[in-house]
C-alpha cells in the first residue's frame, strides 16, 4: 500500500515536470525552431515603438541568447522559488510561483489566476454534486427497470444531453429562465460564497444545472451499463441467497461494484473542469479560469496563457492522483499490485 502511494506520487511529480517542459517548449523552443530569433521573442515583451537596440538589450536581459537548458532552468526556478527581472530601470521581484507579468496589464499572472479560481471551483463543485446524484440515480433506476418507459425516456434524454453542446443548452436556458421567466439572474452575475452564500448559489444555479446536464447524461448511461453488468454477477446471486433485501442487494453489492470504474472518469472530468469550464464560463460570462484563458488567448498575452495552461494541467494531475489513491481504498484488489 505504501509503495503504491509512493509510486503514484513519483508518477504525479514526473508528469508535472513533463508538462512544464512541454509548455515551455511550445512557447519558447518551437518558435526558435520555426526560425524566430531571440530578438523576435524579446519583441513580444517590449512596446511597438522600441528600437532594435532596445529589443536586443531586452533579449539579453531576459536570457533569450542563453542555451535552452539554462532558459528552462530559469523558468522552473521562477515557478518554484520566484524570479527577479532586471529591466534596466531597477530589479523587479516576482514571488513564487512566478508565471511572469501580463503583457496587457503589467500585473503578475499568479494573483490574477488565484482571483479567478473561486469562480471556477464553485461552478465545478456545484455541478459535480448535481451530476453525480442525478446521473447515478437515473442510471440505477434505468438498469433496474430495463426496457421500461422510464428507461427509454431517461436514456433518450441522456443521448440528447451528451449531444447538445453547452453553448446551445446554455443560451436556451438563459433565454427561457433569465430573460423570459426572470427566475434566474442573467449571465455575468457572481457573488463570492463568503459574502453571501444564498446569492452565490442563486447566481450559479443555472450554470450548475446546464453543466450538470451534460455530464449527468454520460454518467447515467455509464451507471446503467455498469449496473446491468454487475447485477448479473454471481456475487449478486449470493447476496440474494443470503436473504438480503433487494434494495440492499442493489446498493451495497451492485452499485458498489458498478461505481468503481466511474471514479476514474470523475477524476478526469473534475480535474479538467477546475482548470476552467471554458464554454460554460463564456456562455454565462462568469469570471473564472476558462474565461481568463479565452481572454488571454485573444489578447495574445503569452505569460497569462502559459500560466493558465500550467495551472489547469496541474489540476488534472492532482485530480488523477487523488483518484488513484481513492481507488486503492475502494477496490482492495488494487492494493496488491
Amino acid at each position: 500500500m505504501v509503495t503504491y502511494i509512493i509510486r503514484r506520487l513519483i508518477g504525479a511529480v514526473a508528469m508535472l515536470i513533463v508538462i512544464s517542459m512541454v509548455t515551455f517548449g511550445i512557447f519558447f523552443v518551437v518558435p526558435q525552431w520555426a526560425g524566430a530569433t531571440p530578438e523576435a521573442l524579446a519583441s513580444r515583451y517590449v512596446g511597438r515603438a522600441a528600437t532594435p537596440e532596445t529589443v536586443a538589450l531586452i533579449a539579453e536581459r531576459l536570457g533569450f541568447n542563453d542555451p535552452v537548458v539554462v532558459q528552462y532552468g530559469r523558468f522552473v526556478k521562477g515557478l518554484v522559488a520566484g524570479a527577479e527581472y532586471d529591466y534596466g530601470a531597477g530589479v523587479e521581484q516576482c514571488p513564487a510561483p512566478c508565471f511572469g507579468y501580463s503583457f496587457i496589464s503589467g500585473q503578475p499572472v499568479w494573483p490574477d489566476l488565484v482571483d479567478r479560481m473561486p469562480v471556477t471551483f464553485s461552478l465545478a463543485i456545484g455541478a459535480a454534486i448535481l451530476w453525480v446524484l442525478a446521473g447515478i440515480s437515473v442510471g440505477v433506476l434505468s438498469a433496474l427497470r430495463r426496457g421500461s418507459f422510464f428507461d427509454r425516456l431517461s436514456m433518450g434524454t441522456a443521448l440528447a444531453g451528451v449531444s447538445l453542446p453547452i453553448f446551445f443548452t446554455g443560451m436556451i436556458s438563459l433565454v427561457v429562465f433569465s430573460y423570459g421567466l426572470g427566475w434566474t439572474p442573467p449571465g455575468g452575475a457572481w457573488t463570492d460564497f463568503t459574502v453571501n452564500p444564498a446569492q452565490w448559489a442563486y447566481n450559479l444555479l443555472l450554470p450548475w444545472i446546464t453543466l450538470a446536464f451534460l455530464f449527468a447524461a454520460t454518467y447515467a448511461r455509464l451507471t446503467r451499463a455498469g449496473m446491468l453488468e454487475t447485477m448479473g454477477e454471481d456475487y449478486i446471486r449470493t447476496a440474494r441467497a443470503k436473504g438480503l433485501r433487494e434494495n440492499q442487494v442493489v446498493v451495497r453489492h451492485g452499485l458498489r461494484a458498478a461505481l468503481t470504474p466511474l471514479l476514474t472518469l470523475f477524476g478526469i472530468d473534475f480535474g479538467l473542469l477546475i482548470g476552467g469550464a471554458v464554454l460554460t464560463e463564456t456562455t454565462y460570462t462568469l469570471p473564472g479560469l476558462g474565461q481568463f484563458a479565452i481572454l488571454a488567448i485573444r489578447n495574445q498575452d503569452l505569460p497569462q496563457v502559459m500560466g493558465v495552461v500550467l495551472v489547469a494541467a496541474g489540476f488534472v494531475v492532482v485530480a488523477s492522483l487523488v483518484v488513484d489513491l481513492l481507488y486503492a481504498v475502494v477496490d482492495p484488489r488494487v492494493r496488491l499490485s
Partner: protein, 341 residues
C-alpha cells in the same frame, strides 16, 4: 410428509426463441439429516431447480408451477418477502465458483457478518465473534486474523470453506450445494466433501448436492436423482444407482466416470451426442436420440413420453424398456464392460 417435498415442479422461461422448459415436472422428497444427490449434464435443469427452491426466480421472467413444501410451508405461492426471510436462515446455498460468488470488495468476515445479521438481531461485535467461530469450524487456520482477508487473498479451497461458513452461519435446515467442488483442485475436493459430511452430521440438516460427477455423490448421498432434459429419469438409493441402475442414461453416466482401477489405455464409454435443447425437447423419451436401445421399444420411444414408474423399494425409472430387458442388458452387456475396463 418429508421435511422438503417438491411436487410436479415446473420452471419455464419464455424467450424470443420459444419456451425453455428447464424443469418439467420434477418431484422428490428429503428428510432432515439425509443427503440427496442430483446428477445430470449441463443444462439438465439441476441448478435451475435449486434456485427455484430458494425462490431466486421470483420476480424474474421464470414461470413456476407445482408445489415446494419446506417444513410444512408451501413456497411457490408464498410472498417474495416471506421466502426472502427463509433464505439464508432456513435454507442456504453453496455455489460453484467461490471466487466469483463472493463480493470482491468486501472482506470474508464482512460477508459472513452480513449474512448472520440479516437474520439475527445482534451487534457487529457478536456477529464478528460468530464469523470467526464459523471460519474456525470449517477448518480455516487463524480465523481471527483471516476474518479480515479479502476473497482474493484466499486459496480456492479456503474460499469454498469460507463460502460454506457463510452458508452455515444461520444454521440452515436445508443446505443446497451446487457443484461445490467443481472449481477446486482434486486434492481439495475430497477435503471439502469430508467437511460437508461432517458439518451435515453436526447440524443434522437436509443436504442436496448438485453435480455432474457421480463420484462426488457416491460417498455422500443417501439417495440419487438423475436428471435429463428437465425431468427425473431415475431415482433411487445410492446402492440402486451404482449397483442396480436401470436407465440407459445412468449407464452412460457410470461409463463416463474415470476410475483409478481401470487400465489407463482403455477408453471411457461416452454418451453419444449432446444434451437436448430445452426449447425443442425431442418427442417421446427425451433421451431416445442418444439411446443405443431405443429401437427395441418398437417406435414407442420417439412418440410416447415414458412414465416414471417404481420398480421396487422406491427405485423409480423412466424408460419404455420392460424391466426384465433392462436388468438383462445391465447384467450381460453393461456391467461386464464397466468391470473389465
Amino acid at each position: 410428509m418429508n421435511f422438503l417435498d417438491v411436487k410436479d415442479l415446473k420452471i419455464h422461461f419464455p424467450t424470443d426463441d420459444g419456451l425453455v422448459r428447464s424443469v418439467d415436472g420434477l418431484s422428490f422428497g428429503l428428510e432432515r439429516g439425509k443427503t440427496l444427490g442430483i446428477v445430470g449434464e449441463s443444462g439438465s435443469g439441476k441448478s435451475v431447480t435449486s434456485l427455484g427452491i430458494l425462490g431466486l426466480h421470483k420476480g424474474g421472467r421464470a414461470r413456476l408451477s407445482g408445489e415446494i413444501w419446506l417444513d410444512g410451508e408451501e413456497l411457490i405461492g408464498a410472498s417474495s418477502e416471506h421466502v426472502r426471510r427463509l433464505r439464508g436462515k432456513k435454507m442456504a446455498m453453496i455455489f460453484q465458483d467461490p471466487l466469483s460468488s463472493m463480493h470482491p470488495f468486501y472482506t470474508v468476515g464482512h460477508q459472513i457478518i452480513e449474512a448472520y445479521r440479516i437474520h439475527n438481531d445482534v451487534s457487529k461485535q457478536v456477529a464478528r465473534k460468530h464469523a470467526i467461530d464459523m471460519l474456525g469450524r470449517v477448518g480455516i487456520p487463524e480465523p481471527a486474523r483471516r476474518v479480515d482477508s479479502y476473497p482474493h487473498e484466499f486459496s480456492g479451497g479456503m474460499r469454498q470453506r469460507a463460502m460454506i461458513a457463510m452458508a452455515l452461519s444461520c444454521d440452515p435446515e436445508l443446505l443446497i450445494a451446487d457443484e461445490p467442488t467443481t472449481a477446486l483442485d482434486v486434492t481439495v475436493q475430497a477435503q471439502i466433501l469430508d467437511l460437508m459430511r461432517d458439518l451435515q452430521r453436526e447440524f443434522n440438516s437436509a443436504l442436496i448436492i448438485i453435480t455432474h460427477d457421480l463420484g462426488v455423490v457416491a460417498e455422500l448421498s443417501d439417495d440419487i436423482l438423475v436428471m435429463y432434459g428437465g425431468k427425473c429419469v431415475e431415482y433411487g438409493t445410492t446402492e440402486d444407482i451404482f449397483y442396480r441402475p436401470e436407465h440407459p442414461y445412468t449407464w452412460g453416466l457410470l461409463g463416463s466416470m474415470p476410475r483409478l482401477d481401470r487400465e489407463p489405455t482403455e477408453r471411457l464409454l461416452p454418451i453419444k451426442g449432446s444434451p437436448p435443447s430445452l426449447i425443442n425437447v425431442p418427442p417421446g423419451c427425451a433421451f431416445h436420440p442418444r439411446c443405443p436401445y431405443a429401437e427395441r421399444t418398437k417406435g414407442k420411444a420417439d412418440t410416447e413420453v415414458p412414465a416414471l414408474a417404481e420398480t421396487e423399494g422406491g427405485h423409480l425409472v423412466r424408460c419404455h424398456l420392460d424391466r426384465a430387458e433392462r436388468q438383462s442388458l445391465w447384467e450381460n452387456e453393461i456391467k461386464p464392460v464397466l468391470e473389465t475396463q
